[in-house]
Symmetry: none
Subunit: 219 residues, 4 copies
């Protein structure tokens, strides 16, 4: 349809398939089983190749039960994504400003990002796949990237104000570019399958970031 396409009503209006949250304990359990199954199947087969039937089979439910809780593959994918922590979705240095020691702060957040990327590599790969196929997810990612860039840009601005970072840099572009660097490096390593050591990569990225901003030691 396509749906339908599928207009149900005789007046041609289409009801947006809104799914109610489960009201009973049994319902909540079934929904949870479906989400877990979806994660398994997505990670195994990829988003595009995953069939709803695979998911329900994996969850041990009837095929029709899927639609009790979700109205599309996209929707259950979103539910799967919600298990990803926000902090993991983008590299960040949000404690940069508060820190007496920006370098350790960058090091810490970089390391944390890489670790969680590695831990969720399959899911990150999925996200990459879906964001390049589905406009809604592309938009979602853009909004998140923007939010992080703004926070990092503010941090850079603060450092510049305190004379601790290269004043010539455009804070927004620099923040976006350096975030990009970390995100793409992680992608290259764990999705494309380079075999860089996590700690070494973390150190290099931290060093590059610090150098790039020309961060001055605070002491």
């Amino acid at each position: 349809m396509p749906r339908p396409t599928t207009s149900r009503r005789e007046d041609g209006s289409t009801t947006v398939p809104h799914r109610e949250p489960p009201l009973t304990v049994r319902g909540a359990r079934t929904r949870a089983r479906l989400v877990a199954a979806a994660r398994t199947v997505f990670e195994r087969d990829g988003f595009l190749n995953a069939r709803l039937a695979d998911i329900t089979t994996e969850a041990g439910t009837a095929s029709g039960s899927f639609y009790t809780y979700f109205s599309s593959k996209e929707e259950i994918f979103q539910a799967v994504l919600e298990e990803l922590q926000d902090e993991m979705l983008h590299p960040h240095v949000h404690d940069l400003v508060d820190a007496d020691d920006p370098v350790s702060s960058i090091a810490a957040s970089t390391h944390a990002y890489l670790e969680s990327y590695q831990r969720n590599a399959k899911l990150m790969q999925l996200l990459e796949q879906v964001a390049n196929v589905d406009d809604k997810f592309r938009e979602l990612r853009k909004r998140r990237a923007d939010a992080f860039a703004r926070r990092n840009a503010q941090a850079i601005r603060d450092l510049q104000a305190r004379g601790l970072a290269d004043p010539k840099l455009n804070p927004i572009l620099a923040a976006g570019s350096l975030s990009s660097m970390v995100a793409r490096a992680a992608y290259t390593n764990w999705v494309l399958g380079e075999d860089w050591d996590l700690d070494e990569l973390s150190d290099t990225l931290t060093q590059l970031w610090v150098n790039a901003l020309k961060i001055q030691p605070t002491t």
Copy 2:
């Protein structure tokens, strides 16, 4: 959405019955029309949504004629990609070593990369989409990224040897990371649709790169 009967597996294990290059002039013309049509359709509809029938219709040929020249959508996509210059596929600084002035060299190649990315944004988006869906193209991208990274790593190593770059950096990881930065920044700008000015972005990236490597002026 019904499943395409082909390209089921994500591991890319599809047998490719090779098609002979066209022998006659008419054949060469038809093939060229198909490739051009494919580019149009891919850019309009995306790789996944593009149907072979759309391509043959756009090319003004019968649907069956497709198989005279190509044996799959992947294969014609490869043909379309061959129009992209190699240098455009990855950010590079290959003239870095020879240059007396590494900064201008970085600036020039960054600017060139961004320009061609902007010019071929639709195709780059396609490449991103396909590389995240088809293992063969993912592999292809990895090999190319590796090749560029090796060359850039060598350049960095040379600068370090001449005392012109931060000796603490791991040349391979630094090269990979900085390339990633430029590639992903371009992607963010022209695929995700940020609205950064090309020149400003180019300047920022150059500055970050130079800072990151702690490149010393040669004079």
Copy 3:
């Protein structure tokens, strides 16, 4: 729906599934086989219960071939309907005015209508079913009924002008009502399954019509 319901293009635009008429002889033959098969299946199973698979099976084609020529059950039903003569779709007296003998004229057209109704009873039943289920066909029927009513109303007006019919009657309402009488009587007899004799029914309807209009003998 069927494909998510079902926008093909990435921009969300939906292509109206316009089917080209067949270009080859083979194509024309296949299309004809499908229409014939559809009539058989519709008459046997009714419009709603008919499955496209039944039609293609009956036609001896692959299921997918259906969509080479039609894009929906409604569309092939329309093709089946086109075999019905226009004159058969509504009771009419269009030669009423010209006739020197309006009574024989009414008798002849009534008899002709009933005969063709009987001959196409199954199809008329189908039309009744579909017109009460599908707005497009309901509209189609209304337009046709209107056209016939206008012609008959004109005939009545002429008779009134010549002093040959009851001048108190509203020509439009009388025409509509008397047409309704014939149409519904035929429906009652051949669809609901009364067992009235065609000739007797024809005579009665003619007599009622003549009486109702108070038609005077012209001699």
Copy 4:
């Protein structure tokens, strides 16, 4: 559109497991709510498009409660129909014989029929739809039409015996045909959506009926 799992056959051969009438007050109330909801939903969506889930939602009951009172959509439709007065289901002249004044009698019953048709137009449309889809309802309609025809035929026979109506007419066929005329005219006006004035239509139909039977004034 996927096929409903039930009511496959057009011959209406569905086993109907009877439901006991509700024993408690609460039960009676629930049943009444369901019937009212069904009418609303049927009139809004049509019989075929109406889902049992829509009905229970509208009634504010759980979906499973439906089967406590009804065993199918057909059965609840029948319950909805029972709200329609019998007299409304067919045009009638049942007081014709007793009347000293057959013309006024015909006028009165015609007018009454049209008025109630207009008032229940949505339900009459539904009945038309269902009677053309479900054999049980088609049979029901036929039986009722027969009963009315018999009564009207008797009335005509009486008039003929008293020398007050055209003796050449077959009473049964005339009764059936004239009833058809009124019923179909009402259908055309309020279901197909002509825009005839009720009183004008009523007058015309009465006049046609009186003329058709050649009814003589009794005085």
